[in-house]
């Protein structure tokens, strides 16, 4: 299948620190691409570059053939790229449904009338088993519920590329199953998912392809079993003496 999102040679440096160094990436509709690597290897920065949270120093990003490298964050949302944050970001004094409604109203595609946005948002929250918590504020939700609300906010803008930053981390065993089935269902409806994750069970189960980053560069890419056996990857994770 043709790639939906293509990034080529993305680089970003903060002062002297090169956080991402010439990384390319592509993902197709319905595919789950795993993005793994040790802490500080540049995974979140790469996600920020794709989502438009930060601008790359070099490289290009194409969405559906259109160059979006220069587009600001909100216009990339309207080009159907959205994300979740590693640490949940949700307006503290708004209810879950209001946050999701904002996404429905400003998202990609045809404009939804204000009166209908509430129903659409409620539907999204319902899909994620949150309908009964729709009127709660951030501090009235559990950690897992917050993560789900954030996903609903991202889905509200009708993305076709979804970047999940450690969305499955911190979940217990039973919650992990639920979370994984949510991600699987996203892919099943044709969304291209980029999954930054440390939970290897989830990566093995969900991803058709895995990309490994270390020190800002891509060091391996391929099917999960193959990549995770790769000596270089083990070295990156465990250090030289263990390899």
């Amino acid at each position: 299948m043709a790639a939906l999102l293509e990034a080529e040679g993305l680089s970003k440096a903060f002062g002297g620190l090169v956080a991402v160094n010439g990384v390319s990436l592509s993902v197709s509709p319905g595919e789950v691409l795993g993005l793994i690597g040790p802490n500080g290897s540049g995974k979140t920065t790469l996600l920020n570059l794709i989502a438009g949270t930060t601008r790359p120093d070099a490289g290009a990003i194409r969405m559906d053939g259109e160059d979006v490298t220069r587009l600001p964050n909100h216009l990339r949302v309207r080009r159907r790229i959205n994300r979740t944050f590693q640490l949940v970001r949700m307006p503290a004094n708004l209810s879950a449904i209001e946050t999701v409604m904002a996404g429905v109203l400003y998202g990609a595609g045809e404009r939804v009338p204000f009166k209908e946005a509430g129903y659409v948002a409620a539907g999204l929250l319902g899909e994620l088993n949150l309908l009964l918590k729709a009127d709660r504020r951030l501090d009235q939700l559990t950690y897992i519920e917050q993560k789900r609300v954030e996903l609903a906010r991202a889905l509200a803008t009708r993305p076709s590329v979804l970047l999940l930053d450690e969305w499955l981390s911190g979940l217990g065993a039973s919650e992990l199953d639920g979370g994984m089935s949510v991600v699987w269902s996203l892919a099943a409806r044709g969304i291209a998912v980029v999954l930054v994750e440390h939970v290897m069970t989830a990566v093995r189960a969900l991803c058709g392809r895995v990309m490994v980053m270390n020190a800002g560069a891509k060091i391996a890419e391929g099917p999960p079993e193959e990549v995770l056996r790769n000596a270089e990857v083990i070295r990156a994770y465990l250090g030289d003496e263990d390899a």
Binding site: H74, T99, T157
Partner: protein, 361 residues
Amino acid sequence: MVGEDKPFPTRAALAIGSLVTLVVLLAALPWLLSDYGLSFMVSVMSYLVLTVAWALFSGPTRLVSLATSAFFGVGMYTVAMLIKLMPLYATFAVALGVGALLAGVVGVLTLRIAGMFFVIFGFGLSEMIRQLMVWWEINKTHTMGRYVFVPFDATLIYEHLLGLAVIVFFVGWQLRRARLGLALMVIGEDETVARQVGVNVPFAKVAIFVVSAMFMTMTGALMAPRYGFINPNFAFNPLVSFQVVIMAFLGGLQRLWGPALGVIPLIILSELLQTEFPFWFSVLLGIVFMVIVYFLPRGVTGLIEDGWKALGRPLELQRGLTGPLVDAWGWMSRPIILPRGIAGAIEDVWVKIAPQTKGRR
């Protein structure tokens, strides 16, 4: 929030009916009040529009605008400059355009960047325009002050201001039911999230800033005929910005009607201060404001809401007056907690003092 409550159409009708009655009553006031009462109501109405317009922008975005007097002054001085050249209503229209343009330029320049720049820019804006106008009038037009003599008396000014107030409330009310209003709330909470739901953050801020500034400019324009003689020092008075901020904070920003609650008390206070202690006016106003900032961060609205909640809460005496008595009896009849006797107590203290010696049970 989801959809509308339709089971009580009578309730909506009641609300609309009472609002219409209120407006009609207010509209009839000029014929019921003395001259002094009318001039009081003119200043109430003008500050009402200014304060609610201020809160349209500063409420959701949480950016304190100190530029109110700049827009108010622009409205007033534009009318004063043009009154000999064109009909009154035409001057109003021009003033509105100038105010909107100024707000657009200021907004585009400062609202893209950190909020700090916007606040600072607004802080000196009115003073800068005043300087420019003084210079212009002295060197280019050789006039120091302008006369506005038009058949537009206090009653007419009041009725126009009332109309403006109705519009500003309507806009504020509609905003709570609109895309832009929700976007502004998200922006005020977290701009990163706002961008991530697809909101064009700078555009939304500039848009509401322009709308808010247009109401302020219009108020200034309407007030011009109130004063026969206007010079730049009079039109661009920094105290206007200050009073509007105080009124809004006194009233509270959580509700649309909140800022309005701050207007009347402060105008009464101002009148009192200005007649009783004219020299102390600015000092006392400053103190009042600092008291609000330190002790009433949610304003009068907050107090009312707390009071309302306290009234609505069930009294915590479900077990009746006997409840506390039962508790007290239970407490008194509880066995004294010294099962190990005084020796036990000493032992506990000893264990604490000398942690290395394991206390024997």
